[in-house]
Symmetry: C2
Subunit: 503 residues, 2 copies
């Protein structure tokens, strides 16, 4: 893509002065229109050192209402950030509906932890972001309605050298030139090939790159503002023409199915709900598990492995008690229980996965989710809280997110607590009759119960589509609570143990 | 306070086994009752190294529903945290209504950055928290409805030494003993005096300390659970007896007034709204200011000074345009504009200052608030969105927060943009008649306008009560926008310049 830039493009001062005010007005109006339509916009500035990323970002925001955007300068990850998957630090920075986020440097740095365009040494890919992870991330944001506008600021090796020398000459700017910048200049010819690959591999339909010839500031500014305005206009105009908001045009590939689902059969059917454990055996097994879990927790901590445990299940299947038992003897400094309720309004104004990224454990810690992102394909699907298109693509988005965790070294364990419809009713009745359990039961529980069949279909599809090699589902027969508790503990021990042996 | 602990307290295994289950049931029920009443609870575990803080926290949470609490282990501050005021990292961890936060180590470490009980060397107090800051922090949380339960786990010098040796003997635990722990033991007799001072100085009515003799684990556990249950019960019972939630009993001292306010006169009256600037002078002054601001921004950055700029003012006073002008030529990487709207539901479930702490700038950065925490004593007061008791105490709480920023090295600059009632009407009309300004005007603006007098009283009281030496208000005559913009820029330059010269 960079091969195409031929000679240096320039624009006269006069033409610049003439074009600028109109362009700025146009952009400023577009910011308002995008805000009215609640469209989130992401601008990404990447480029060679000294290509003028900061300056260009400044030119872009000049006409914008400063209350409507946030600018982020991305530095190398902190220690805390390095203990999370590479995209973790970017998720909280994605803009809410109607806002603009401007990134000076971005997640593209994650492809090259040794410096922009420098391939990782050897074949160590720990902590290195992958092109397909970036593409998925950007695609997901776009599918939820975002516009992503990406700029690569291109200058020649000679021009870069000249700028670095100029910066060094001036006392006010010489602190900005670092060793790495000179190294980049020396290795320019090798690096440009890797950057070209990066641009090609991430030049997608939904988030294309714009290469800006940055030799001439005036030319670059005009090009920048024009392309920004066009990108926003295209979308806003299309939405204005349509009756309601439309998402950007994309190849809407059908979700590829791992397994075909026939409504009649379900992995739930295979669960033997008569399985149970007597008091004595329960106690002895639990004790063993507890001891083992505590050992494992310490080992996890010293090896800095993050663990994600997901609990889903029917109402009254015993999630709370099960989590309590699992964590009972664990060191409380090592785990967090994350209860997931309906999203708050702040959460609703972001991508639906945004809030879960916030709770992802860092290396050495365990996060236990009491309900989770699977709400999208369960309650939100059944209750019509999202569109069919939205829950359909959620399977892939979720699989990709979990795969990212695993690639970043995490263990992902998913439990579905299964009980029969009769047992559920029995437990509801019990809750109503026992004083200290009454708070647990609400009319909503009965409402959900009346939709048992619809939930069964949604659960079945979820189990089939999101049981992956890296993050399989475990169906926990929970008719007998003792049995269920020992089973989840054993699976947790097994799954984590496997990961520990690998290190 | 520690002098009072005499001989080691013990409890037999039998008595322990008998007392424990009942106590745990009681606590578990209290957790539910507190959740129903939306009471946030904070537990703080402090104590000597090896006194068993982690173990005791584990005993406390054992009977609790893990979905209802979060446990935080407090480590020394990270670099990012050190670039903020000392309480900044604790505010986000304060629990929302109905939740429990358990702190293993806490803000009390902030009093002694060199180690618990070690006085700071020399008279450098940079980054050191003060006792009165802690007391204010805890009082504010309590006044918003929180229960704070603080434990100091006490062991003797001899016992500590024995425990450290035991830990070192075991391969599984020896990594937990650090040099500092031995140093603490050697200096025990000196340190205990400082700790005693700390306990006495922060043993307040609203958040008293409970000293736990931690030599015997069983005794400590029972004492811990008993005092926890009592503290929660006292509050929950009182609330149940009252018609509606009550805040904990406290000396409700009248807010001390810096100035007495008579409704007739206001600092607003002194503002000369005829002040204006012609086009030419405006342009030349703005240019000078811009240049200066850019220089200052760089200097701020290298000296790591944080700057907080607050904009308040009448509707249509020109806050947006003023901010735009101020930031126009600043390096966008150095500042953030924080637009403040009605709080989200997540924000509403915390202390009203919680959301502002999240946006506080770190050293070297500027945060510009378009509306701010002053909403409490302006719109929330006038519209009856909070109680009189709440806005009355807000003056002091706000003053204390701002003082903390200043103590931590920040510059706090507050602008009130003032216009006449006639000018406001003129601007409303203009907005209605100009196509691209229409979005700025809503029926609410007229509603607010009809309450001009009530707002005037609230503004006047705010200006008088919160114009402090460390963070004075600047009234900006904004009838003429040019004049207003140059004045804010000049004041910003002056205020920041003064801070820079001090370093």
């Amino acid at each position: 893509m960079l091969g195409e830039t031929e000679s240096v493009k320039k624009i006269t001062k006069e033409a610049y002065r003439k074009a600028l005010p109109e362009l700025e007005l146009r952009l400023s109006a577009l910011q308002r229109r995008a805000r009215e339509r609640a469209i989130p916009i992401l601008f990404i500035f990447e480029g060679w050192s000294a290509a003028g990323k900061g300056t260009m970002a400044g030119r872009l925001i000049h006409p914008l209402d400063p209350r409507g955007f946030t600018l982020y300068t991305i530095n190398p990850p902190t220690e805390d950030e390095r203990l999370h998957p590479p995209l973790w630090r970017f998720w909280p920075k994605t803009p809410s509906r109607g806002r603009i986020a401007v990134f000076v440097k971005s997640w593209y740095r994650g492809l090259f932890p040794g410096g922009m365009g420098e391939l990782p040494a050897g074949d160590s890919t720990a902590g290195v972001l992958r092109v397909d992870e970036i593409n998925s991330f950007e695609e997901e944001l776009c599918r939820e309605g975002a516009i992503i506008i990406k700029y690569w600021l291109q200058i020649s090796k000679k021009e870069q050298k000249k700028r670095l020398l100029d910066l060094q000459k001036d006392d006010a700017t010489k602190w900005r030139v670092e060793k790495e910048d000179w190294r980049q200049n020396r290795r320019y010819d090798r690096i440009i090939k890797n950057i070209d690959d990066m641009l090609e591999d991430t030049d997608t339909e939904f988030a294309p790159w714009t290469i800006i010839d940055a030799h001439d500031r005036r030319h670059a500014t005009i090009k920048l503002l024009e392309t920004a305005a066009e990108a926003i206009e295209r979308r806003v105009d299309r939405e204005a023409a349509a009756a309601e908001p439309v998402h950007p045009q994309m190849k809407t590939e059908p979700v590829t199915l791992a397994v075909s689902v026939s409504p009649g059969e379900s992995p739930l059917d295979a669960a033997d709900l008569t399985l149970s454990l007597g008091d004595e055996e329960y106690r002895s097994q639990v004790e063993k598990c507890e001891k083992k879990l505590r050992e494992i927790e310490l080992e996890l901590y010293t090896k800095r492995i993050p663990v994600v445990i997901v609990y889903e299940g029917w109402d009254a299947a015993g999630k709370g008690g099960n989590i309590k038992r699992l964590t009972e003897r664990m060191d409380p400094r090592g785990y967090d229980v994350v209860p997931v309720a309906a999203p708050t309004d702040e959460e609703k104004s972001h991508h639906y996965l945004w809030r879960f990224w916030r709770s992802m454990p860092k290396g050495g810690h365990i996060a236990i989710f009491d309900r989770s992102w699977y709400g999208r394909v369960l309650v939100e699907r059944v209750e019509g809280l999202c569109t069919e298109e939205e829950w359909r693509r959620a399977y892939r988005e979720i699989n990709e997110m979990e795969e990212q965790f695993v690639r970043a070294g995490a263990v992902v364990i998913k439990f579905f607590l299964h009980i029969s419809r009769e047992e559920q009713l029995r437990r509801f009745k019990e809750r109503e009759s026992v004083e200290y359990k009454k708070w647990k039961i609400t009319p909503e529980d009965y409402r959900n119960r009346s939709k048992w069949e619809e939930y069964r279909v949604a659960i079945t599809e979820m189990l089939l589509r999101t049981s992956t090699r890296h993050a399989p589902w475990h169906i926990i027969e929970s008719e007998n609570k003792h049995y269920a508790r020992v089973k989840t503990m054993s699976i947790a021990i097994q799954s984590i143990g496997k990961a520990l042996r690998k290190t």
